[in-house]
Amino acid sequence: MVIFEKSSRGRMTGSQQAVVESGRMEIPGRFLRESAPLLPEVSELEAVRHFTRLSQRNFSVDTHFYPLGSCTMKYNPRVCHTLALLPGFSGRHPRAPASHGQGVMGLLFGLQEMLKEITGMAGVSLTPMAGAQGEWAGIAMIRSYHRERGDVARDEILVPNAAHGTNPATAAMCGFSVREIPTDGAGDVDLAALSGAVGPRTAGLMLTNPSTLGVFERRVAEIARIVHAAGGLLYYDGANLNAIAGRVRPGDMGFDAVHVNVHKTFATPHGGGGPGAGPVGVGERLLPYLPIPMVAREEEAGGERFRWLTEEERPRTIGRLSGFVGNVGVLLRAYGYLRMVGATGLLRVADYATLNANYLMARLQGAGFRVAFPERRATHEFIVSVKPEAEAYGVTALHFAKRLLDHGFYAPTIYFPQLVPECLLIEPTETESREDLDRFVAAMVAIREEAKSEPERVKSAPHRTPVGRLDEARAARQPDLVWKGPITSGQGGPVVFGQGPEVSGQGKVNGQPS
């Protein structure tokens, strides 16, 4: 039942009504609306109850193991949330004078410096508002670089075929055409194909390392040589930095530009799809092009002073990407996280993320599942292919995913990367305990057993979630994107919400009991 259906004409939350003291109004009638917008009219209790109950219809890191590959669903420290909302931070207008911004600017400067160190880059701009905007900034800088050198023929960006969709989409938005590079059987970039592809049209290569196949691209130095030799630059998609932060730095691998997803590696929340932040770092060559604003520090008589760098001071910048500074509140959370873990902590993040992934891979392999690259070490994530199960019982990766929900686990990423059939990309992260990994293995085994004995039950999963399998085709065919009235089909009763793992026929399911 959507909030509009709980609405009643004239009902309202009285304590939220502004008082118009002077009563003055000098806007001519022709500018004024004739009827009130169709917003919900409910009491404050109804509002709180509605949204509180909706929240309970979500799986989340705070409630469930969430091994979503390529997404790094680790614990988001609560303190970072409460601190980012301190009135001094949350109440500061972005265009308040520098006198009233030394606190936040000092922290952002500190974050710039820490990210430089972690990425091995010469400069960092925090302004991109997500990974994809970080990519955009990186590719735009590469474009400016070639342009300023008069190298205007470079109109191609190379992207491995395992790459995340944002990479080709970004390249296209920057005006480049995209050329895909195949992957070899071991999960590495096909070097021969790469060598064949580079040339005078090559503006650059976008690479994720560890790759989205869950393996470390071992010949990355060689790749860098090939691309650089052809006159191209290298862009590092930092979505998987969690696996190697503190151990290997993109700058040392030969990359010219990099973004990091603070909402992955640096434990800021995903919020059901953002806000994140995608700071970009660059090597010397791209330094002049970094997007603004950036924070500068100046030594002063009484100590240090921080200020925003402006377009005038950075004339070759690719410019602004947002109305103000980017997602400052998110950046503060990342700052807090980094200050709590420090350098040794960051190393342990990578260590235990990798340990958890390799352990889970070993256990699943031991339980008879097929992993995509059995001869390779997993990084912080790895791929299981349920093709054997699909062939034997007709139970696909989608079915496994949905049935995992019934066991109290969010599902791994499925059907990405597209190279591996019936794949589940599994990323446990370092903040999950061994016990939870063991429970996940037990659930996978139980589902496979069920696939044999009762395949229809698996195929029609989920059964224990607030709603059953949803009709996506109908959603796309007859888009209902905006509420206009009650849904037509009268069959449905009220929605059952917030269920946990099911007690299966044979006995226990090791879900996530409280």
Partner: protein, 452 residues
């Protein structure tokens, strides 16, 4: 070490299960020469020390009474908004790919889309873009894609659209060969003269971008602008302030057929100012253009049992399906901010939104009256304004603003940098939070500084 649950015993058992001696061995595939030296980061703090450190920093920035606007506004955010949006179930969920396990987020997004559509008077809306400025960039790209009748990718941009937004648009669309033409404002009125559009030939313009209220706070003649733009075969992109729509006519009913694409900065709807973000961009459009919309879209559907449910839909527009031919590269958007906005709009309701809009306007009238009582201070433009106003300043604004800040007043922003012909002038705003005493203090300080 914070956040890693493993005990020594766990470690040993897990390494044994993998069949390696040490964690180090798990990194064997990484070539030795790539290994970094130990990082040089500040020493770690426990939570208590972090709280002290950040508390001190936050304390340094506090204490301004905010008359600054220029695209972000100091509205009161009801306590329930972030109590709800901060709940772990919303806060720590991912983009709702597994719909059955994400009905909470999905339903809120559907309700958000509905509220935005109803507020703007358009038919469909998406589930957010990064912020108002980048949303405008996406709107321009979208309009060019959608307007197949236009002969050239030329877009007219009123110079009364926020200068920063215009720069962001330029940065974002330039690589795609779009030509941006700036329309100047009428110097005494502060709005764009609709007659300017008569200088273009039919089919030569893909889209017109206008803002209501515009950057000067002024109300544009939107009806005439829309009708003339449509006469040229151009689509109309309207950038609007969502609070103002509590009382202003929605873009969907501007002119004879309404604006085609509406976008804006969502910050006023429940997002704290936070030095500039996270905010969110919203976007709505006519139904016919839905397949050109960038960003996530949620649809309502049913499950096998006929129960209502919500899913991400029309994903074929998006990067994870369409890759280089997607409508945008956006992936992570500003989800949580739309949860906050949905709670905000629900708590206010139509009456509350109208009351807030009226209170802003009334306070801005009082503010302007008080400030223009200071000799030498006067309104730059004659057109009606909403909650923000451009004033001529008898003293250099670059000196005035820090001076006011020292005295606890955030006075606004200067205009001369972006509009040199306007000379020393101040853009100042009032929301429903400003009190008569604060307005009076601002007035007294200004008078003192100006020398009265």
């Amino acid at each position: 070490m914070p956040f890693v649950p493993h005990t020594e015993e766990d470690l040993g058992q897990m390494l044994a299960a993998i069949g390696v001696e040490s964690v180090e061995a798990l990194f064997a595939e990484i070539p030795g020469e790539l290994r970094a030296a130990p990082l040089n980061l500040p020493p770690p703090l426990n939570e208590m020390a972090l709280a002290r450190h950040l508390g001190e920093a936050a304390g340094r920035d506090a204490g301004l009474v905010c008359f600054i606007g220029a695209g972000a506004y100091d509205h009161y955010v009801p306590a329930a908004v972030w109590e709800i949006a901060g709940r772990g179930e919303f806060y720590t969920a991912y983009t709702p790919y597994q719909a059955e396990a994400s009905q909470g987020t999905l339903q809120v997004l559907y309700e958000f889309q509905s509220m935005i559509a109803h507020l703007t008077g358009l038919e469909v809306a998406n589930a957010s873009l990064y912020d108002g400025a980048s949303a405008l960039g996406e709107a321009v790209l979208m309009a060019v894609r959608a307007n197949r009748g236009a002969k050239a990718p030329r877009v007219l941009l009123a110079d009364t659209v926020s200068p920063v937004h215009r720069r962001v648009v330029r940065n974002l669309v330039e690589a795609q060969g779009i030509e941006l033409v700036t329309l100047p404002h009428e110097p005494r009125e502060g709005g764009v003269d609709p007659l300017l559009l008569d200088g273009f030939t039919r089919g030569s313009v893909a889209a017109l971008v206008i803002a209501q209220p515009n950057y000067f706070g002024v109300l544009e003649e939107v009806d005439a602008l829309v009708d003339r733009a449509h006469a040229l075969g151009a689509l109309v992109i309207a950038e609007v302030n969502p609070i103002s729509l509590g009382i202003l006519r929605p873009p969907g009913s501007w002119g004879r057929s309404g604006a085609d694409i509406v976008c804006g900065e969502g910050q006023p709807l429940g997002a704290p100012l936070s030095s500039g973000g996270p905010y969110f961009g919203f976007m709505a459009c006519r139904g016919e253009h839905v397949r050109q919309l960038p960003g996530r879209i949620v649809g309502r559907t049913t499950d096998q049992g006929g129960r209502e449910g919500f899913v991400l839909t029309l994903q074929a527009r998006e990067q994870h399906i369409r890759r280089s031919r997607a409508t945008s590269n956006i992936c992570t958007n500003q989800g949580l901010m739309t949860v906050a906005a949905s709670v905000y709009m629900t708590l206010l309701g139509p009456a509350g939104l109208a009351a807030t809009a009226r209170a802003c306007h009334a306070n801005a009238l009082s503010l302007v009256e008080r400030l223009t009582a200071v000799p030498g201070v006067e309104r730059l433009f004659s057109r009606p304004f909403f909650h923000e106003c451009a004033l001529r300043s008898p003293v250099p604004v670059a000196e005035l603003l820090p001076w006011l800040a020292e005295r606890g007043i955030g006075g606004g922003v200067g205009l001369v940098g972006d509009y040199p012909h306007l000379g020393e002038s101040l853009l100042t705003a009032a929301t429903e939070r400003r009190t008569a005493a604060e307005i009076d203090l601002f007035g007294r300080l200004l008078a003192e500084r100006v020398g009265f």
